[in-house]
Subunit: 437 residues, 2 copies
């Protein structure tokens, strides 16, 4: 046991005896890639996260829709660094940052003193000023979100089987997904597959084929980040699966009774929010300017203006590409930013000139519609259909972290594909928002 | 969609046109084996359970101790009967039974009318009149119980890593298991293995080797259902793993600060209850006599005295063996009772003489201590050590329900055994006792 945690940091000087202390807040793709890429005898690293696991968010929608169990897409952070004696992991919630005292304040724990600080706290759903919609329309960012959505979707079918009121049954069998980016498209596609292919033989009082899945998008087409012909292809695939796609349609109200679009009220007991994200409160902690989505406006080297020892990376940072466009909130972008800051800090520790500016290399966009259709856009190369689907699967397995998870996810998918059975159809926890231990 | 659910039952007469309606409450081992063994053109079956899954309880402690993910030990009930058109599954809570009107009342759903009724509602933990201990010392009966215990155990290590108060750290690193039956022994063994072998490399401020696991048993030895030399062997194995075994020791108080045994107060933040069970409220629903543990006193054919159309099976029934001893609350006993009542009902439907009395065949007792030791008692054949351990593993894999789960559990175990990594170390849900949707 040591007391390094609470010892005053050596904020000044570069003594070879006392390593500098880098605190990384958030162990998503950005924070994790920074810690993994950075190892120096003159540096000790503390990772602080409010959860005990790193989450492979691109597959989270498959947990929400019963394809994968939670343990296939998340790993204990401290386990990932068990052989890195220079890395300490703390499960704690950050309550504020004092940039003058160089201190990170934690809830129910002693504060941390830092020499260098990296904020990689990600993003949350944005309800565009209607936070009261969240209770009725959960978004999909955490494992708890995923199991909440899974529980609500499965419970809706169960309650419909029990109900004797036709209107109530219809509302229970109506699923509204708000937002037609990749997550919204993937959620709508799998819920439709559940209703059309997986559940029909299991119910006696309801016909799950009659379930309605409605995908609502304010913009003119689904998958706005893809080329228009790919949007058309995906919209056709969704329609074939029985999904009602409503583009150019804004949601004006959400409650546990349904969703209002314009003057129309859609009675629905299950609504899922996949429409917008907002950055975590890093900008407020630092008292620095943010963009409209709450992201910190950073320097080209991802440091914070006026705070050369603080970096902001991943979905919490607002970074411009050379073409003037925003770096997208994608896993590869977050990883690249983490790796870039690792290089910057390494150069600084070595007394060398750090690389001056982060350059984003766009790898491509991928999206799937159930087991049927997929689109892959790599700029010059664009793919649709089965080849894109397999590519999507291989890419996602490749980027999973642990060897076993790759194998486990591959087996879960193969099983689900060959037998038509899903492996994670459990309704468990009843409530995830309360704060009792 | 049909209205069978609410139609008045044909309580009298044996018309070939209208099948009789058997309602089975509870889809544990007893209820499931009854439904599986019973198929007759003159019978329709409704299974009611307050959860959507059947649970393989003998492996639940491995979910609680991070070895297995939840989806390896539970399966959606309706999925198990998807090819049985005569079986309807309802996710609902029973609130009472009217034996005169032959009606099962459900919470938030229309009541069910029955011709034949089987109650297989299992057991819950018993705190011997101290229900106020439950919040501090959860038992292990449901998936939620297992994830609650997993969360508390893992969170205790996390909080100890954050704590700077030595007394607080010591209390956080003290784990008390109350009751040294197979579940208590297995829980204590795996928590000790976690602390001694799996977690040490992952923490920087605490030495998890210093964690204390205390197994408290009121009786004179661990595993009272086994022969004394096996108890000795298991107690030695536990002690080698670092578990403090306190036999002949009664718990006099439990709180979130610790456990009182006699005049001694053991400061501990994590206590797990594995001491006693009490039957579900079937006897109260029926207004019939029960034994001290709340189990319904049934006839030799497992029907309820005065209610020839109602059967009580599994942990909810109090059944005497030929030797005068109580049939034990084990999975094989529950399965045998379900299969027996299937024969009785089948004979009644066919107008034949049903078998007069249930006869329990004891298959044996098995228990393990981590990955080290195991005992198997088959009466004449008694085994200790590695052979018993492998036998235990094979037996449990064999009795798992789905093909995939057998494979999945075998892979999870093999992985955990070969690599020393556990696959289910996620802290998820925050609270499972509240009733919000």
């Amino acid at each position: 046991m040591d007391d390094a945690q609470t010892a005053p940091a050596t904020a000044h000087g570069t003594s070879q005896q006392t390593p500098k202390h880098l605190v990384i807040v958030g162990a998503g793709f950005a924070g994790l890639s920074l810690a993994k890429a950075l190892k120096d005898p003159n540096l000790r690293i503390t990772i602080v996260d409010q959860r005990n696991h790193h989450l492979f968010q691109p597959l989270l929608y498959q947990v929400a829709t019963t394809i994968l169990p939670t343990s296939d897409v998340a790993w204990p952070i401290r386990h990932l660094f068990k052989n890195r004696r220079d890395v300490t992991t703390l499960l704690a919630q950050v309550t504020g940052i004092d940039t003058v005292a160089r201190r990170v304040d934690l809830k129910n724990a002693a504060p941390l003193h830092y020499d260098l600080l990296a904020l990689a706290t990600g993003a949350r759903h944005s309800y565009f000023g209607h936070d009261e919609w969240e209770a009725a329309a959960p978004g999909l960012k955490s494992l708890e979100d995923a199991t909440t959505i899974r529980r609500r979707v499965l419970s809706a079918f169960e309650q419909a089987e029990l109900s004797t009121d036709p209107a109530e049954r219809a509302a229970l069998l109506t699923f509204v997904v708000v937002g037609a980016g990749p997550t919204g498209v993937e959620l709508a596609g799998i819920i439709a597959e559940l209703a059309q292919e997986i559940l029909p033989k299991e119910f006696r009082h309801i016909d799950t084929h009659q379930a309605r899945v409605i995908l609502v998008e304010a913009g003119p087409r689904v998958l706005p980040a893809f080329p228009p012909d790919m949007s058309d292809y995906v919209q056709t695939a969704l329609t074939k699966l029985g999904v009602t796609v409503m583009t150019g349609t804004s949601v004006s109200d959400v409650s546990d009774q349904g969703v209002a679009v314009g003057t129309e009220q859609i009675p629905a007991r299950t609504t899922i929010w996949a429409a917008g994200v907002t950055a975590s409160p890093a900008a407020q902690w630092l008292h620095v300017p943010a963009d409209r989505a709450g992201r910190v406006l950073v320097n080209p080297d991802l440091s914070v203006p006026g705070h050369p020892d603080i970096y902001v990376i991943g979905d919490t940072a607002s970074v411009k590409q050379a073409n003037g466009q925003q770096v997208p909130g994608l896993a590869p972008a977050a990883k690249q930013q983490g790796a870039f800051v690792a290089k910057v800090i390494k150069a600084r520790l070595d007394g060398k000139t750090p690389p001056p500016a982060f350059l984003y290399r766009h790898a491509g966009n991928l999206a799937t519609v159930g087991k049927r259709a997929a689109v892959a856009d790599f700029g010059r190369v664009k793919l649709k259909g089965p080849l894109a689907w397999w590519l999507w699967g291989i890419a996602h397995i490749y980027f999973l972290i642990g060897t076993r998870s790759r194998l486990a996810v591959a087996l879960s998918w193969l099983w689900s594909y060959v037998t038509g059975r899903n492996s994670a159809r459990l309704i468990t926890q009843r409530d995830v928002y309360s704060n009792k231990r």
